[in-house]
Amino acid sequence: MKQFELPIGEDYTDIVPLDEGGMGVIFRARKVNLGVDVVIKRVRQGLEHRLNQRSEADILKTLKHRYLPRIYDIIDGHDGYLYTVMDFIPGCDLEKYVKKKGAVDQKTALKWTRQLCEAVEYLHSQTPPIIHCDIKPKNIMITEQGDICLIDFNTSLIYQSAEMRAIGTSEGYAAPEQYNVDIGKLEKSLQQVSDSDETVLVDDATQTIQWETVPRLVTLATRAKSYGTVTLRTDVYGIGATAYFMLTGYRPALSLDEVIPLERYDIRLGDAFASILERAMQQQPKKRFQSAASMLEALQDLKKSDAQYKKYRRTYQLTETFLALAAVFCLALTWIGWRQMQTGQDSAYMQLVEEGERLGEELNYEESYLVLSEAIMQEPERLEAYSALAALLYRQGQYQECIDLMQEAENIEIGNDERAEQLFANISYITASSHFYLGEYAEALRNYQTAAALCPDVTDYVRDLAVCYAKTGDMQQAKETLDTLNSMQPNQADVLLASAEIADLSGDTQGALSMLKQVVSLTEDENLLLRSYMMLVDVCEKLGADYLEEEITQLQTACSRLDGSRNAVLAERLADAWMGLAQAYPERQEEGWQQALSCYQSLMDSGYQTIAVRQNFAMAQQYLGQYEQAEQTLADLIADYPNDYRGYLRLAFLQADMQDEKPVEQRDYTEFWNYYDQTVEAYAAAEAAGTADTEVLRLKELAEQIVQAGYTR
């Protein structure tokens, strides 16, 4: 074979021509220093203007990919040609392969298209990217291993600006934008061409479309002398067109013309693959895959392009969205329903508490107690009912019951709820006051401290805390707390009450009385009034019988100033005071017992029927000579409290009085002894529990007198 001499240096021998194409001649040679066969492509003058820059040539030489030939050198020959030296790839190009063996099957086409995408993706990923610009079957070698190799970079561009123009075109494989024609106008024109026999012609000078009678616009557009701009999507079109050829064996019509749809060929082609190729070959670049990488991604995940799979995805998403929305709707319904239930429950609870409070204010203590207890059973973790019930018991003077009940409330978790803190502080305050009245000052102090710690701004809590400190003997703390109270700018009555308590404890009873009188004249606060009057009564009692009149006057004022719900304890104290007056002043006995009877009667009528009240009521009846009524009152008391000695005790005294009223010969102490025995028996149990009652001793003395008088059993 005739060997050629080329002006590319001494390193190449055995140079023989292989082929001659539109853009130059291809030689095969041996590269001596590497000992490999190479292909040398000589490009005609005028076509190498893009790649004759040394820097760009150097970029091409760095390429290394399994589906690209290695480019050893790009040489500017002395003869004005550009020589590209690259790997010799044994095998034949895709065009010859298809012509020889026919169109390839779908699986092979898919494999080669993926390989082509990988190679082009590699080129596009360079910095700056390399656009091949001439992807076609003739530039794809099929290796002996059955893989592809993309060759011929003579028309490739180093993509450095958006305005780069193509160097040449390959009919059928060049993307529409490689021609210098407005694509939008062409598409419109093509539509019109198909609608009529008229066609358009591109004017080379103005690049405008003129209506003429030329058969096909696209053919003429191909003949345009200048080329259009290229982008990465230009190569995507080339890949699509090459795959089209692989599958059909036909070039995809003329460039810029409508591509014959793949469905028209009698080939086995999946819907997904076909749709990918159609997208790759869109005339508008923006409608194609944005890069070879995204096309490769679509090819590797074919299901995403499958129409049935798309339908499946759409249905799946719609169903899931619908179910999610329905779930949100149902969740909202559940939440609203739950809130309604909570509100209903809360409302029922608060109604019970309000009802209990109302009954308490109407002095219907028993009903109030039941209603509030029911509220506690409904919501044992809430404090409102506890607070109301504590206030109710406190008002009735049932201090021990109040303390016992509040022990249950102590374990309720209050968290950071301000309302719960206030309620808990109030409960602690009432419990503390109950302990205070029972003389349990250490316990009272602990509860006052809790109340004052939870609500340090409430002057009542601080005031009573100061008093309680004084009661426990801690005068230093009492004074400091009093200073704190003064710093809170309380009303004068608060300070006076605390000062009165401290004065009383210090032995200045007269001073305490004076201050307490000032307190009740200064304030209208019911709590403060109740407390002040209670203390005033204690102070008067401490000052002796001379102050009984003062005590009664103050208590009468107190009962008229405070409403009915609060004056039960005061009314009892008033009745007791009248009873004390009757016993202390014989000349006022009748008046005293009458007034006491009246007070006890009012208490009994209002439902305030403690054992002490009933017992004293009977005693007043007895002293006023109402024996039968007194007997009935005590019989009722015994029926309600059969194990309490006090009913029997008073009946024994009553029987003794009744017999005293009779002539000596008619006296019969049988009933007396009967009640006496029952008193002694019931009192034994009470005595064992720590009770010591001087009235029982008085009864025993009376029994001895009766025996001495000759009235034996």
Binding site: L302, E320, L323, C330, L331, Q340
Partner: protein
């Protein structure tokens, strides 16, 4: 008639029904996608 809590129970019932529908749809979609993928595998692999 006391209707308090009706919404709550309707909501709970709805959630249960949606839960069942969700499970059924998951199974149905799994079968459908398996069928499509098998066909695609036959076509291209």
């Amino acid at each position: 008639m006391d209707h308090s809590g009706l919404l709550f129970y309707v909501g709970i019932a709805g959630l249960i029904v949606i839960g069942i529908l969700f499970l059924i749809s998951l199974i149905a979609f799994h079968i459908w996608s398996k069928k499509i993928l098998n066909r695609l595998n036959d076509e291209y692999d």
